[in-house]
């Protein structure tokens, strides 16, 4: 589906932007000659009607080439080989064109694995050339690889100049120059009152909910009163979490990050090196946090967001919430992504979904404090349960086929929530659920958080915050304030 989406982008890009002035590699025949000298038999071409296509391609030789790149080599011969291969493959259709697409991914993966600035810089030039060639069918892909993979690698290597070089290339140019960015609407208009809320975090009496228009609602009396924080940002916030002590993180739209060290009394706003949405945040303590988001984005912020490291990821996948599972972080996302992030750092270890015909799209996950038993919820009534700390998951049957957006709980108590105001509660750690009758309108419910087995919160569209004081036997609205 994501490919279709990219195609949609590509079509729209072609349909709606004037054809760029850049022409395809003007000296392709000369380059082909040079390739034949450097790497004979890598690529044989054919020419039909003025169009140069692929006659044969030596995958083994290309594999060797990738190994050399992975080892940190980059020279004009490799540069030329890459340019020719992708120029010729982009003239092809169907399966051959798809193969070229795969090759491009492989080259990028190899270059990133090299962890060499020179290699990354070299590849950046190749990708920029492909991107600028508006006729090439890999133009959009090249832009995305630059924007995602190479930028990520540059961040992790801490190389500012390469990062900036990429950023200036991939940032979509504003067509109408001179339009100064508008100051945040927050503070001028009280939009936080009925803004859609997407996440809530609760610890003791401290509760924080986040949502559209940069809304952060903070309560220090367990939901008795709510005060909007002046965050100085209008960006929609998708996730919020408490860190150790008074630390509070919120992340969201286009890489927006808010960090508070005084329990939400004030926030420092920053933006991640990527303008992708961030959907999950996990506080690691002392100003560090793990953040995940769109297009497989995985970032670690240090010093409250002043420095970064980027964890490259093989596939493009939307990553959703991050929660605590024992000492580790646990994340879910598109295509059945269920991963444990070790507390000591390093790459995540994936879990498996057993006896499930397709990969479910997962929106949220919850673990009991020990991190052994957990529940994940997702698209079309998907409800998964693990008892082995997230290594394997099995479906729990539920008489509901709408989307489930949220799960949360405390001890034996688990509450799930979703589309159309759906709320259900389990008192046996997620083996059996029963619906909570609610008088609330049929709005989507987006997040569940419990501060203890008695007190819990659910947030939803239009500034809705529901609270329970009796262990999810009943819920009542504590926000938004009455309109009339």
């Amino acid at each position: 589906m994501l490919d279709r989406f990219i195609c949609g982008f590509a079509l729209a890009w072609l349909a709606l932007t004037p054809v760029a002035a850049a022409s395809p590699e003007p000296d392709l025949p000369a380059r082909i000659e040079r390739l034949a000298r450097d790497y004979p038999s890598l690529l044989e071409t054919r020419e039909t009607g003025g169009v140069i296509g692929v006659r044969s391609f030596d995958e083994d030789l290309f594999g060797e080439l990738l190994d050399r790149i992975r080892a940190g080599a980059w020279n004009s011969g490799i540069d030329n080989a890459c340019r020719v291969v992708f120029a010729v493959f982009s003239e092809e259709q169907g399966i051959v064109a798809a193969e070229g697409r795969q090759l491009l991914h492989e080259v990028v993966a190899a270059a990133i694995a090299s962890e060499q600035i020179a290699v990354l810089e070299g590849l950046t030039h190749v990708l920029v050339a492909i991107m600028d060639d508006a006729i090439s069918q890999y133009s959009v892909l090249a832009q995305e690889l630059l924007s995602e993979k190479l930028r990520c690698a540059a961040i992790s290597l801490g190389n500012r100049s390469l990062l900036e070089a990429i950023q200036t290339r991939v940032d979509p140019e504003r067509e109408f120059s001179g339009a100064a960015p508008r100051p945040p609407v927050q503070g001028r208009w009280p939009l936080h009152r009925h803004a859609n809320l997407y996440d809530i975090a609760a610890r003791g009496d401290q509760v924080a909910a986040v949502g559209a228009f940069g809304t952060v609602l903070v309560s220090n009396d367990a939901g008795g009163s709510w005060s909007p924080a002046r965050t100085g940002s209008d960006a929609t916030l998708f996730a919020v979490t408490h860190g150790p002590g008074e630390e509070l993180w919120a992340v969201g739209q286009a890489g927006s990050i808010l960090h508070s060290t005084n329990a939400g009394a004030s926030f420092a706003a920053s933006v991640s090196p990527f303008d992708r949405h961030l959907f999950g945040v996990f506080a690691m303590g002392s100003g560090s946090a793990l953040m995940v988001g769109d297009y497989g984005l995985q970032l670690r912020a240090k010093d409250g967001g002043r420095s970064w490291s980027c964890i490259p990821r093989g596939e493009d996948v939307i990553l959703g919430r991050l929660v605590r599972a024992g000492d580790d972080a646990f994340g879910v996302g598109e295509f059945g992504t269920l991963e444990r992030w070790p507390a000591e750092g390093g790459a995540p270890t994936p879990g498996r979904v057993l006896a499930e015909p397709r990969d479910p799209y997962l929106f949220d996950v919850w673990f009991e404090p020990a991190g052994r038993v957990g529940l994940a919820v997702g698209l079309a009534g998907t409800l998964l349960r693990t008892v082995d700390a997230g290594q394997s998951w099995r479906r729990v049957e539920l008489a509901f086929d709408g989307n489930l957006y949220a799960v949360g709980g405390a001890g034996q108590l688990v509450v799930i929530a979703g589309e159309g105001g759906f709320l259900a509660v389990s008192r046996d750690q997620g083996t059996h659920f029963e619906r909570v009758a609610s008088e609330m309108p049929a709005l989507p419910l987006m997040a569940v958080a419990f501060s203890d087995p008695v007190r819990g919160y659910v947030v939803g569209a239009g500034g809705l915050i529901l609270k329970t004081d009796d262990g999810a036997r009943s819920f009542h609205a504590v926000h938004p304030p009455a309109r009339r």
Binding site: A12, R188, W189
Partner: protein
């Protein structure tokens, strides 16, 4: 001998000539009456010059108009997801979507759709129905509803779309209901799809899922209100009879329908008023001519008035029919003055001819003066830019002016032709005379007069305080024209309570540059505008193209609500726009949201009502937002060379050898107060034209700042350009300046924008009109009597009347709007009439040699009697509106007028003589004169 007396003698001598003239003119107007129409043209109710109305008119063909009918289909039991209820919604949809009203339905009287509640109403209903049957035309034929098929929205209409993603990733928008669901599975699937669809759930289906809305917009030019009313009411009846549903119908076009349905009652009221007036006149005056004169004069007066309206092609709005009736009442009042005065003179002189001439001469000045001041008051309402009120002002001014001829002259003529009355003594009703005698003796004493003035001063103070409470615009959530328990208002209340969306406000984000409004910053502006407008507690929701884009994004991301987020880059917007546009299979479905020329996007905000305070709050919010949140671009000027005229072509031929002239450009910016400020501009043509026009070089940022600063400081309302050529011998005015790459929020259409514009205009007209009326009256009286004292006295009387009118409105909770403004203006005019008559009489009695207290007392007993006659006749005459009229408006207006006439009569009979009595000699003016004329 005075001029008035000379004219009266001449008039008596050449009576045949005058009779012929009046007859000819009356026949002319009677002939013109055939053009007369009683209907309401929606555009006539709007101030055409108001910027909101300009926006409304500019976009009504693109984004729909304010003529929206809303049907709510409420399931009697359970929710709407039952086969029969869905079928009812579907049928309601197709009924509203159909454009023809059947001929047999058109033959039904409009009144037959009224359902009387009480016994009295049933009697009235039967009589009105009979009247309508009498007046109905034989074969009306089928009529058009004028529905705009693309602006119909309903759960089962093709415009309600569901977004789906196919397995291969293609986005599709099939109709939400392609086939009516039958099985429980299908029904529950529909329920889930509706819940997921934010443009349907809570908008077309209520949040409690018990009711669905069907909305339809109708094109003004093709809309026949009475036909549409029949169509909708018939649909409502047939749906309720065949399906387990209740149907509520609301919307502006139906309100007009209800007014038409009740119009036939007016005939009944007129008849009753006539009968009662005749009876009262007989009871008071006991003379044949005392009835013949006022009524014949009134009849001719009506012919003149209606004939004038027909001649000029004015249509009469059923609601303001009460105005002509009031003027006719004024005619009767003047006539009674004359009849009473004649009786008095006849008693004194014993000769009919002499008595006639004498009374005519005596009343010529005050009568004409009273009518003239009435006219001025009525002409001030013609200052309004709302065509309906403007026309009404002109018509009623003429109508009132014609009283001079149709009553004053015609009465005298008739009397001259009639045989002399048999009895010389006039009949004086004893009770009335006793009361007036008491009043006269009260006024004659200094202390009594003083206490009268104090009481009136207190009343005036109280009225002044109360008058501050007058609201502009409907003060109730339902329409004040109808009673709260009327079907229309009950439907409106039901829909407001369940959906909160009856009225809408349309704001158009516009840019001259195609595609500019799709830029992320423009969408950000739209998103904030929507959020700010919806934060208003009266607002029920909002929808724009951006919402559709967000929905597309959400659908594309497996329905995850977090993805219903505004796009960040132009590329993303382009991608989702592309997906959205290509996913819509039927044309026209996106038309209510975006214009095909890519220059504008529509933002709609929905409201549950158009109460004055909520409209004011909504528009104040909108204006505040628009003033502070803008996307300015650099200013550019479109310079279109006008086609040169003959002289210019000749000149150009002559001057061919010279280099072509460069137009010199002068730019003047006006703020909303009309303060001008010229802006420096560079002159020179930029040949790189954007859209076939020549675009003048953009203003540098410095000048842009000037405009920005001006806009910020004073809400710049308009920029004007003067292009001067040939050293100034050719001037061309231009006001087509635009922000070349900025986005402006054009305000405001929809029923809220339209009503808001009318309110602003009425507020302005009302203040201007009041000031002009008072000043003009003052001037007229001053010139007529050449006395400041009389002018002040009458001005005071007018002031008290105006205050009383406003206080009455405030106390009854009647707001100033398009309908009440003319009536209020007339109410003020009435105030002066009685006062003119009584003060004139005092002056005359003084000239005859009576001392001031005695003159005042005598005027009270003579002219005061006539005033009491007319006032009480009129009050009793219009009392029938209150129980009979189904229009709450008419009932309230008559109550208001009853209060007004009572206050005015009391003022004339008590206050004016008391003031005269108390005036110090050196200030008394004509009241102090001792010489006999």
């Amino acid at each position: 001998m005075s001029g008035a007396l000379r004219f009266s003698i001449l008039f008596a001598r050449y009576r045949h000539v005058f009779a012929l003239l009046i007859a000819v003119v009356t026949v002319f107007f009677a002939w013109q009456m055939r053009h007369l129409q009683v209907f309401t043209q929606f555009l006539d109710l709007l101030p055409r010059e108001h910027p909101y109305i300009r926006t409304y008119e500019a976009y009504r063909d693109v984004y729909g108009n304010a003529n929206t009918v809303v049907l709510e289909v409420l399931a009697l039991e359970g929710d709407i997801y039952q086969p029969k209820v869905i079928a009812a919604i579907d049928e309601a949809t197709s009924l509203l979507d159909s454009s023809v009203v059947a001929a047999d339905l058109m033959a039904e009287p409009v009144r037959s759709f009224v359902e009387p509640q009480s016994a009295l109403q049933r009697v009235v209903h039967e009589l009105a129905l009979a009247a309508e049957h009498l007046l109905a035309s034989e074969n009306p034929g089928a009529a058009e509803t004028g529905v705009d098929h693309n602006l119909v929205s309903s759960l089962t209409h093709r415009t309600a779309r569901d977004q789906q993603i196919d397995a291969d990733g293609t986005l599709r928008s099939p109709p939400l209901v392609a086939q009516l669901p039958e099985t429980p599975a299908e029904l529950s699937e529909l329920r889930e799809r509706v819940r997921r669809n934010p443009s349907v759930f809570g908008v077309l289906v209520s949040v409690d899922e018990r009711a669905a809305l069907v909305r339809a917009s109708f094109t003004e030019s093709r809309l026949d209100y009475a036909a549409l009313f029949r169509h909708v009411q018939q649909a409502r009846r047939s749906l309720e009879a065949r399906f387990p549903v209740r149907v509520f119908a609301s919307g502006q076009p139906l309100l007009f329908g209800w007014i038409f349905a009740f119009a036939s009652e007016i005939l009944l009221v007129f008849t009753l008023t006539l009968l009662v007036s005749v009876a009262l006149l007989w009871a008071y005056l006991r003379r044949f001519y005392a009835i013949l004169l006022p009524l014949s004069g009134a009849a001719v007066n009506v012919v003149w008035g209606l004939g004038f309206a027909g001649w000029l092609g004015f249509s009469l709005d059923p609601l303001v029919l009460v105005v002509p009736m009031l003027i006719t009442a004024r005619a009767i009042s003047h006539s009674v003055q004359f009849v009473e005065r004649f009786a008095e003179e006849y008693e004194r002189l014993g000769d009919k001819e002499q008595a006639c001439i004498q009374s005519m001469a005596e009343l010529l000045l005050p009568g004409t003066l009273a009518i003239l001041t009435d006219c001025v008051g009525l002409l001030t309402i013609a200052l309004a830019t709302i065509p309906l009120i403007h026309n009404l002002g002109l018509l009623s001014a003429f109508w009132a002016a014609s009283i001079v001829v149709t009553e004053m002259l015609l009465n005298r003529l008739l009397l001259l032709y009639l045989p002399a009355p048999r009895q010389r003594e006039r009949h004086v009703p004893r009770a009335l005379d006793g009361a007036l005698k008491g009043a006269a003796s009260l006024i004659a004493s200094r202390r009594g007069a003083g206490s009268v003035v104090v009481v009136f001063a207190l009343i005036a103070c109280g009225a002044a305080i109360a008058a501050r409470g007058v609201e502009i615009g409907d003060s109730r959530s339902t329409t004040p024209i109808l009673y709260a328990d009327s079907p229309f208002n009950r439907a409106a209340a039901e829909i407001e309570q369940r959906f909160g969306v009856i009225d809408d406000l349309l704001i158009v984000a516009h840019s001259r540059q195609p595609g500019r409004v799709y830029q992320p910053d423009a969408l950000e502006l739209i998103e904030e505008l929507q959020a700010v407008m919806v934060a208003d507690p009266n607002a029920g929701g909002s929808i724009s193209f951006l919402d559709l884009l967000k929905q597309t994004s959400q659908t594309f991301h497996n329905g995850d609500p977090r993805w219903a987020t505004r796009m960040q880059t132009a590329l993303e917007v382009a991608a989702y726009t592309f997906l959205l546009e290509t996913s819509v299979p039927a044309p026209g479905i996106l038309d209510p949201y975006r214009a095909v020329d890519q220059r504008s996007l529509a933002v709609r905000v929905f409201y549950g009502n158009h109460r004055a305070d909520s409209v004011r709050a909504a528009l104040a919010r909108l204006e505040e937002f628009a003033a502070s949140e803008r996307l300015d671009g650099s200013l550019a000027v479109r310079l279109e060379m006008p086609e040169p005229g003959a002289l210019r072509r000749w000149l150009a031929g002559l001057l061919r050898l010279l280099p072509p002239p460069v137009p010199r450009l002068a730019v003047t910016a006006y703020d909303s107060k009309g303060q001008a400020r010229s802006l420096p501009v560079e002159t020179g043509l930029d040949e790189s034209s954007a859209d076939g026009m020549r675009v003048l070089s953009r203003w540098s940022s410095a000048e842009h700042d000037v405009v920005a600063e001006l806009r910020q400081a004073s809400r710049l309302s308009r920029v004007e350009l003067w292009i001067r050529e040939f050293g100034g011998d050719f001037e061309h005015q231009w006001s087509d300046v635009w922000l070349a790459d900025g986005v402006e929020l054009r305000r405001a259409g929809g029923s809220i924008g339209v009503v808001g514009a009318a309110h602003t205009e009425i507020g302005a007209s009302h203040r201007a009109g009041l000031a002009v009326a008072v000043a003009a009256t003052f001037a007229i009286v001053w010139l007529s009597y050449r006395s400041l004292t009389v002018a002040c006295l009458l001005g005071l009387s007018l002031g008290v009347a105006a205050l009383a009118a406003l206080a009455g409105q405030a106390l009854l909770g009647i707001a100033l709007d398009t309908n009440t403004l003319p009536i209020q203006a007339i109410g003020i005019g009435i105030g002066i009439d009685y006062a003119v008559y009584i003060s004139d009489r005092i002056i005359r009695e003084r000239r005859r040699g009576l001392a001031r207290p005695a003159a005042a007392a005598r005027a009270v007993r003579t002219t005061g009697l006539a005033i009491t006659f007319t006032a009480s006749t009129l009050v009793v005459g219009i009392v029938f509106w209150i129980p009979i009229s189904s229009l709450r408006f008419s009932a309230e207006m008559s109550l208001l007028l009853m209060i007004l006439m009572t206050v005015n009569a009391l003022g004339a009979v008590l206050l004016v003589p008391s003031l005269v009595r108390l005036l110090p000699d050196r200030l008394a003016g004509p009241f102090g004169a001792r010489q006999v004329d």
